[in-house]
Amino acid sequence: MDLFEINLTSVVQLLSFIFLLWMLKKLLYKPFFSMMDERKKRVEGDLAEAENVRKRAEELEKMAQNELKEARAKSDQIVAIANNRAEEIIEEAKQKAQREAEKVLSTAQLEIERQKQEALAQVQSVATELAISLVIKVLKGTLDEKAKREYLINVLKEYEK
C-alpha cells in the first residue's frame, strides 16, 4: 500500500531534518542560548549588586546607629558637664552674692556705727553747748568769763572720763 510504503524518502527526510537542525542551531538556538546566558548573568549580576548594596546599607545603618549612640552618649556627657558647670556657676554666684551681701551688710553696719558715733558726737557737742550755755546762764554774774570756761572744761573732762 502506498500509504505505508517506506522508501528513500525517509533518508532524504532525515537529511533534511539534520540540515534544518544545523541551520536553526546556527540561526536561532545559539543566539537564544547566548542571550539567555547573558540575561541570566545580568540578572545574577544585578542580584549580586543589590545584595552588596543591601549589605552596604546595613553596614551604613549600623555605623549610623553607632554614631548616633556615640553622639547621644557625648551629648549626655556634655549635658552632664553643663549641668555641673551650671550648678558650680550658680553656687559661685550664690557665694559671691552672699559675700557681697555680707560685705554690704558690714559696710552698712560700719556706716551705721560711724553715723551713730557722729550723731553721738553731735549730740554731745550740742548737749555740751547747751550745758555750757545753761551753766553760763546759771553762773552769770558769779564767775568771770575765764573762770567759767575753766570750770566748764573741768566739768567736761570729768564727764568725758
Binding site: 510504503e5 528513500l8 524518502t9 533534511s16 531534518f17 540540515f19 537542525l21
Partner: protein, 293 residues
C-alpha cells in the same frame, strides 16, 4: 476615555487579498470540470501516493513529500534568518515571538531533564521537530496550493502505472507529515537519540541492565515496549494528519471545492496541526527523559 485603536487592513493587503480571492475562485471554477464525478472517485485515490521509481525501496521516492519538505524548510529558515538578523538584548516583535516559543519548549525540557548537558540538545531536537511539524501541518491544513490526484492502473506485465494529475488551489498543500516516511524516520531518530543519551547518562552497563528491570522475566516486554514507541509516536501524527486531510477532502467535494467549511478547516488545519506538533515534541522530550532520568 480614549478610543480603542482599531487595526485596519492596509490598502496593499486589501489588493493582495482581492487578487488572491479572484485567482482562487477562478481556478476553482475551472477545476470543477476536472473533478471526479462522485465521492467514491475522489476517495478511491486518497490512499495513493505519487511515487517515482521502481524496484527496491532505495530506488523509490515520494516527490511531493520532498518538495513540500523543502517548502517547509524554506519557510522555517526564512523566519530564522529574519529573526537572526535583528537579534538583540531588547527583542523585536519577531524575536519576542521566537523567544517565547523557544522558552515554552525549553521550560518543558528543563522540567523533564534537569541535566544541562542533555537539556540543551533535547531542546534543540524537540524545537526543530515542533517547528517542522507545525509549519508542515499548517501548510498542509490551511493554505491552498498544489495537490496531486494519483490513479493507479496495472500494466500487462503486472507493473503498477501511476497517473498523476496536478490540482491547483482546489485542495491544500500536501503535508510532509501525512507521509509515514517522515513520521517514522523522525520517531526512529528520537528512539536512537534517547537511547544514545541514556547510554551517555547512565553508562552502557546500567543502560543494558534497564532492560531487565524490575525483573529479568520482563526483558521481552521491555524490548517490545521500546520498539512500540516509534510506531505509536509516528502513527499518531500520521493518522491525525492523513485522516484530517481525507475528511477535509471528502467534505470539500460536497461543496464542490468552492468554499471549504471554515470550522473544519480551522480545526484540522490549525488546532489539530498545532496539537499534534506539540504532542510529538512533548513525547520526544518524555522518551529522552525516560532514558536519561
Amino acid at each position: 476615555m480614549p478610543e480603542k485603536k482599531r487595526r485596519r487592513i492596509s490598502k496593499k493587503t486589501k489588493i493582495q487579498l482581492t487578487v488572491f480571492l479572484i485567482v482562487y475562485v477562478t481556478i476553482g471554477i475551472i477545476n470543477v470540470q476536472y473533478l471526479p464525478k462522485s465521492p467514491s472517485d475522489i476517495l478511491g485515490n486518497v490512499a495513493n501516493r505519487w511515487i517515482v521509481g521502481t524496484g527496491p525501496w532505495y530506488l523509490r521516492i515520494n516527490p511531493m513529500t520532498i518538495i513540500m519538505s523543502l517548502v517547509v524548510l524554506a519557510v522555517i529558515i526564512w523566519f530564522a534568518i529574519s529573526v537572526h538578523k535583528e537579534y538583540s538584548l531588547i527583542p523585536t516583535r519577531k524575536q519576542a515571538f521566537a523567544e517565547s516559543l523557544m522558552d515554552f519548549v525549553y521550560d518543558i525540557v528543563q522540567s523533564s531533564i534537569p541535566d544541562e548537558r542533555f537539556a540543551r540538545s533535547t531542546f534543540m531536537i524537540a524545537t526543530t521537530l515542533f517547528l517542522y511539524i507545525v509549519v508542515s501541518n499548517l501548510l498542509g491544513g490551511v493554505i491552498p496550493g498544489i495537490s496531486v490526484d494519483v490513479t493507479k492502473t496495472l500494466a500487462e506485465n503486472g507493473e503498477i502505472i501511476r497517473n498523476v494529475k496536478f490540482i491547483l488551489f482546489s485542495d491544500t498543500w500536501f503535508a510532509p507529515t501525512a507521509d509515514l516516511n517522515t513520521n517514522l524516520t523522525y520517531a526512529l531518530m528520537v528512539l536512537v537519540i534517547s537511547h544514545y543519551f541514556g547510554i551517555k547518562a547512565k553508562g552502557f552497563k546500567a543502560w543494558l541492565k534497564s532492560f531487565i528491570e524490575p525483573v529479568p522475566f520482563l526483558l521481552p516486554l521491555n524490548i517490545i515496549g521500546e520498539l512500540a514507541k516509534p510506531i505509536s509516536h509516528s502513527m499518531r501524527l500520521f493518522g491525525n494528519i492523513t485522516g484530517g486531510g481525507v475528511l477535509v477532502l471528502a467534505l470539500s467535494y460536497f461543496v464542490k471545492y468552492m468554499f471549504l467549511p471554515p470550522v473544519l478547516w480551522g480545526y484540522f488545519g490549525i488546532f489539530s496541526g498545532l496539537i499534534q506538533a506539540f504532542v510529538f515534541s512533548t513525547l520526544t522530550v518524555a522518551y529522552i527523559s525516560a532514558q536519561v532520568g
